[in-house]
């Protein structure tokens, strides 16, 4: 059996957003499943280590919600409308009817899928289904929200909008997001954890962890890549004359490029 994760030590703080970056096969999805406690179902697969959860007694908190990489498998298709599909997990939590409706309405408004509320989930496009599953997870109002590649089928505007939603959610919950989109990382990540071959290669703020070993494992913003290309010809220096390797800030990158 191939080793998926080894010697992972990771602490996620309250109201912190961790972005998992890394090549495919580096262990991002397995780490998401571990954080969501799904690996408990496979005791034989876990050779050592444990997950310690310091539960907060946050009012209304409902533990963990997760949107999986293959989100298609999370839609029950037992309910005839998107509204009822999103309400389904809240019903399972045993919430009062008024609160279920309030939470469902709120999640639908946040994800901006009001126009789909009365449609049958079976009739939706791939990206619309992904939005339904995201809304379902948000409606549960968890303490920890885990998203595995939440942008995979979203159009660019929805991607940008999800960034805003996640920035807002960070104020009330912890987030673990496996996603290689560098623009989402810049927007919402408090910390970036780079996985490589099942191990943590780097853990920290993006600007602090970038180096030759990390650079080939993760995607970087286009302007950062442009500056890196220019640097091969040693043309880019900051105001003090020091060579710039990684410029993550869009405005500064453009200023640097304009001066060439």
């Amino acid at each position: 059996m191939p080793l998926a994760l080894s010697a992972i030590n990771l602490e996620v703080n309250e109201r912190e957003c961790i972005m998992l970056n890394g090549l495919s096969g580096s262990g991002k999805s397995t780490l998401c499943l571990a954080a969501a406690d799904f690996l408990k179902a496979f005791p034989a697969a876990v050779s050592s280590g444990k997950i310690i959860r310091h539960r907060t007694e946050q009012e209304g908190g409902t533990g963990i919600a997760m949107v999986m990489q293959n989100f298609y498998s999370q839609i029950t298709y037992l309910r005839p409308t998107v509204f009822e599909e999103i309400a389904f997990p809240c019903e399972n939590l045993g919430l009062p009817r008024d609160e279920i409706i309030e939470r469902t309405d709120d999640a639908i408004a946040r994800i901006r899928i009001g126009h789909l509320a009365g449609r049958n989930p079976l009739d939706l496009s791939g990206g619309e289904k992904q939005k339904v599953v995201l809304a379902t997870a948000i409606a549960m109002s968890p303490d920890l929200l885990i998203l595995d590649e939440p942008l995979s089928q979203l159009d660019p505007e929805s991607t940008s909008h999800l960034g805003e939603i996640l920035s807002g959610l960070k104020r009330s919950m912890s987030l673990i997001i496996a996603e290689n989109d560098p623009y989402l990382t810049l927007k919402v990540a408090d910390r970036v954890v780079v996985l490589s071959d099942g191990k943590i290669l780097a853990d920290g703020k993006l600007e602090n962890i970038l180096g030759p070993d990390v650079e080939c494992e993760i995607d970087l913003p286009a302007w950062t890549r442009c500056i890196m290309e220019l640097q091969n010809g040693d043309r880019t220096r900051d105001h003090a004359g020091t060579a710039i390797r990684y410029e993550l800030n869009y405005k500064r990158a453009i200023e640097t490029m304009r001066k060439i």
């Binding site: 090549l23 496009s125 990206g127 159009d155 991607t159 890196m228 304009r258």
Partner: protein, 281 residues
């Protein structure tokens, strides 16, 4: 000739309008990117093209022949489609069998399996069960199983979804090879930042209607390109945005081209600097 023509095509899912009055012509050997907001009709467009769906109104021809009265199996030899969700497509017990399945159906030869498996780095997993692979590898297997069929038209639905930079580079190599082989490629994608470099033309959809159909470079020359993209739920692609913000005269689609162009140009006069508004990321 294997060009593709949509003539006034309209399609309804039961009572839901998915595509309205689509007319476009895709020349043989070119690459078309289809983009638009979620639910704009992109995947429906692909399914109509390869005959999985039949238009409610209008006509679709592949290489001059109408596909409306043809069975999907008859069209498979002309146009192969890889689905949005690779797990809807994969079923064989090994990667090798998966790659042979489509070929067997259309009685094509297997000469492309070797080179394409090598390009997508699938050589080492040929005997593995596709479901024991990572999601990105499963997507590559789904893409490979279609590409090896050697059909004149190839359609890919969101081929970069779930791929990390490493597999995207492999996919880029495959697209470059298929372009060299003069295949007609139709690619539905949200990832314009990566795929624009390979595009000849663009089809931009909003609410089932064509907002733009035409050449890639012509599109970025238009003054209203931003507004068109906004109607389609698409943010302005990042490399053309950098090209404009750094006052480059042409539109570029990869970092190396932006950098090369910057290195080659004459230093800009101070008055020209800063004439474009800087936008937030």
């Amino acid at each position: 000739m294997m060009d593709i023509e949509f003539s006034h095509v309209t399609f309804y899912y039961k009572s839901n309008l998915a595509l309205r009055d689509i007319t476009c012509e895709i020349a043989e050997g070119t690459t078309l990117l289809v983009a638009g907001h979620n639910g704009s009709g992109k995947s429906t467009f692909l399914k109509l093209m390869n005959g999985i769906l039949k238009p409610t109104e209008g006509e679709i021809t592949l290489g001059g022949e109408s596909n409306v009265n043809k069975r999907t199996s008859e069209l498979a030899a002309k146009c192969a489609l890889s689905f949005q969700n690779p797990d809807d497509q994969l079923f064989a017990p090994t990667v090798k069998k998966e790659l042979h399945f489509g070929i067997g159906n259309i009685h094509a030869d297997d000469s492309l399996i070797g080179p394409i498996a090598t390009l997508l780095k699938l050589g080492e997993v040929m005997e593995r069960n596709p479901y024991s692979l990572t999601y990105a590898q499963r997507r590559l297997v789904a893409i490979a199983s279609v590409a090896v069929m050697n059909t004149p038209i190839l359609a890919f639905d969101e081929p970069t979804a779930g791929l990390s930079i490493r597999e995207k580079a492999y996919l880029g190599d495959l697209i470059a090879l298929l372009r060299k082989m003069k295949k007609t490629l139709v690619v539905v994608t949200h990832d314009l930042n990566f795929l624009l470099q390979y595009a000849d033309s663009l089809l931009l959809l909003a609410h089932g209607k064509v907002e733009y159909f035409g050449g890639r470079d012509m599109f970025f020359d238009r003054k209203d390109s931003r507004q068109i993209l906004a109607r389609c739920g698409i943010t302005y692609p990042v490399y053309p945005r950098i090209s404009a913000a750094t006052n480059l005269k042409a539109h570029y689609f990869i970092a190396a081209d932006v950098a090369d162009s910057l290195k080659k140009r004459e230093p800009a006069p101070p008055s020209a600097q800063g004439q474009h508004q800087l936008e937030g990321a």
